[in-house]
């Protein structure tokens, strides 16, 4: 009974924590410009993150190591420094984008420019991390994140062409804007397969003291939680396609266009639901990414770490999330467009994936860490294929997007 409750709570947490500014913005842009045609990218990204999250939980439960801990121990610090730097850089951009997401929500609600909200948002997040516990961060904010289910409700209420939706789950070539199509596919993959998601999950498993008895629960949480989470992203894409794209709003380049997704369906409450979804989803992600930065550095350098410890007991860990939050708020406070930063950081995430995922895959195939629970052929092949696809597409499309190819 206790396990069932834990699984349910884990699934709810995964669902509530799945949507953030990256998945919301990329799905909205993709739906508006390409209709249902890029649903396959969301599906592929979700399959990949299911495998990676399951692996991260399994690795933590069996080896009692977090991913960064394992990589440093297995490959040595000199080899660990590259994935560490890549993850820190990408997480920094993602953290900045998430703070930007909350700041946009605050601007939409109050009319006061998003720049003014960046530092207060960072301060509030810092206060929660400083005073709060892991349970509060993990479950409290994620449960609030269930408000994002409004996109699924909206998608159903719109009665989309379900055959078209199903057809979109199969990869197809674009009829127009080829470079943009592939860039969007890369951004969606990057948003779905954010390294912070599975790295945070492994740290969380250690914080929650998982052991081998949690392997079943881990599988259920990864499978169900991520599938439901992916469904919300598909919901955003469908709503964007039917409400924005079908009405001629095909270029979602301005965050002011985003609330228009829900207003025609729910009226004024659509506006409220959108603002609440954006604020809660991005704030939850802000807390998670900031914590992940601290986990990465503390685990990499072998410092004491744990969100449940008092800051005076893990000063290095606390210092890292403090610095990360305030530094990441600076670009937004200086007026950098959060939407553009989001899309770019998601594409960069896809490009950086091999650096973080390949060492992790090697660990998952190492008997010394996972023994009989090592990876199977299917999970190895699926993850390698999707990561390679994301990497190749990112390397080709990022320069084209920057220099304006069509």
């Amino acid at each position: 009974m206790k396990k069932l409750l834990e699984i349910s709570l884990g699934v709810v947490t995964s669902v509530g924590g799945f949507l953030e500014v990256g998945s919301m913005a990329t799905a909205a842009q993709a739906g508006a410009l390409f209709g249902f045609q890029l649903i396959w990218a969301v599906a592929l990204g979700t399959i990949c993150i299911i495998f990676l999250v399951e692996m991260a939980g399994r690795f933590a439960a069996v080896s009692r190591h977090t991913i960064s801990d394992g990589i440093r121990e297995r490959f040595g610090f000199n080899a660990f420094i590259w994935p560490l730097l890549a993850a820190l850089l990408v997480n920094f951009l993602v953290l900045s984008a998430e703070i930007g997401g909350v700041a946009i929500a605050a601007e939409l609600a109050t009319g006061i420019g998003f720049q003014w909200w960046a530092l207060p948002v960072a301060f509030f997040a810092w206060l929660l991390l400083w005073k709060g516990t892991f349970g509060l961060i993990e479950k409290g904010v994620s449960i609030l994140g269930l408000v994002t289910l409004c996109f699924v409700v909206a998608a159903v209420m719109l009665h989309p062409d379900w055959k078209g939706v199903a057809a979109g789950a199969v990869p197809s070539l674009p009829q127009h804007d080829t470079a943009k199509y592939w860039f969007m596919a890369v951004s969606i993959l990057g948003a779905s397969i954010s390294p912070y998601l599975f790295m945070f999950y492994s740290s969380g498993a250690i914080e929650d003291q998982w052991d081998k008895s949690y392997l079943g629960a881990n599988r259920a949480i990864a499978g169900l939680g991520m599938t439901f989470g992916g469904t919300i992203s598909v919901g955003v894409l469908i709503v964007a396609a039917v409400v924005l794209g079908a009405n001629g709003v095909t270029e979602v380049d301005d965050y002011n266009q985003l609330p228009l997704m829900l207003i025609p369906i729910f009226g004024f409450w659509g506006f409220v639901l959108f603002v609440a979804s954006l604020a809660v989803a991005c704030f939850g992600a802000t807390l998670e990414v900031a914590l992940q930065q601290a986990y990465l550095v503390a685990q990499g350098f072998g410092w004491t770490w744990g969100e449940d410890l008092k800051p005076r007991d893990d000063p290095g860990f606390s210092l890292v999330y403090t610095l990360s939050l305030f530094l990441a708020a600076v670009p937004i406070a200086l007026g950098l467009d959060p939407l553009k930063l989001t899309i770019f950081s998601m594409a960069l995430t896809a490009a950086s994936l091999p650096l973080t995922v390949v060492p992790f895959l090697i660990l998952l195939n190492d008997d010394r860490y996972v023994g009989e629970h090592r990876n199977g052929v299917v999970s190895n092949t699926a993850v390698i294929f999707i990561i390679a696809l994301g990497f190749v597409l990112a390397v080709v499309t990022i320069p084209l997007q920057i220099f304006g190819g069509t």
């Binding site: 009405n247 709003v249 270029e251 301005d254 220099f403």
Partner: protein
């Protein structure tokens, strides 16, 4: 800027073994950069800016509709409309700075974009002052300017007589 970057890479090519990987990388990137360079013609600019403007104008009309029906708060609607007006004005400037074979057609396109921008600005002011009749009028002006844009766009890409 891109051309400068290519020149920078080529001029550094023979300065020692350390630049070997850079040379290889630059050779691999050259086709991409050239593709990017060639993709920025004036008709592309006009096409891209018109598509962006058409989408932004439609968003402006949707926001005005939402505000008129009480589904969007004034602070959001006015700041969104101002932002859309700025995007439209920028599109007009970019089209105006392009150098096509027929300047008259370019001017017509640019004028239609400016009209859209003005209409979005009017809508923003009306929303800010909570003036429904003016907002309604600005909405009609937006629709009319959208028609102008569609006409100017099709003429811009029509074969030369």
């Amino acid at each position: 800027m891109v051309a400068g970057f290519i020149f920078m890479i080529s001029s550094d090519c023979n300065e020692g073994k350390m630049v070997g990987p850079v040379i290889r990388l630059s050779r691999a990137c050259l086709p991409l950069l050239l593709l990017a360079l060639t993709s920025c013609s004036s008709s592309d600019t006009a096409e891209q800016q018109t598509e962006l403007a058409s989408s932004t104008a439609q968003a402006a009309a949707m926001v005005t509709d939402a505000w008129l029906s009480g589904a969007a708060p004034s602070c959001y609607a006015s700041s969104a409309l101002l932002s859309f007006a700025e995007t439209l004005a920028d599109a007009a400037r970019q089209v105006q700075s392009a150098s096509p074979s027929d300047p008259a057609r370019r001017d017509a396109l640019s004028t239609a974009l400016s009209r859209l921008s003005n209409a979005a600005n009017q809508a923003a002011s009306a929303v800010k002052t909570e003036h429904h009749a003016q907002a309604d009028q600005a909405q009609q002006e937006l629709r009319a300017a959208q028609g102008d844009l569609a006409k100017a766009y099709s003429e811009y890409f029509a074969p030369q007589r």
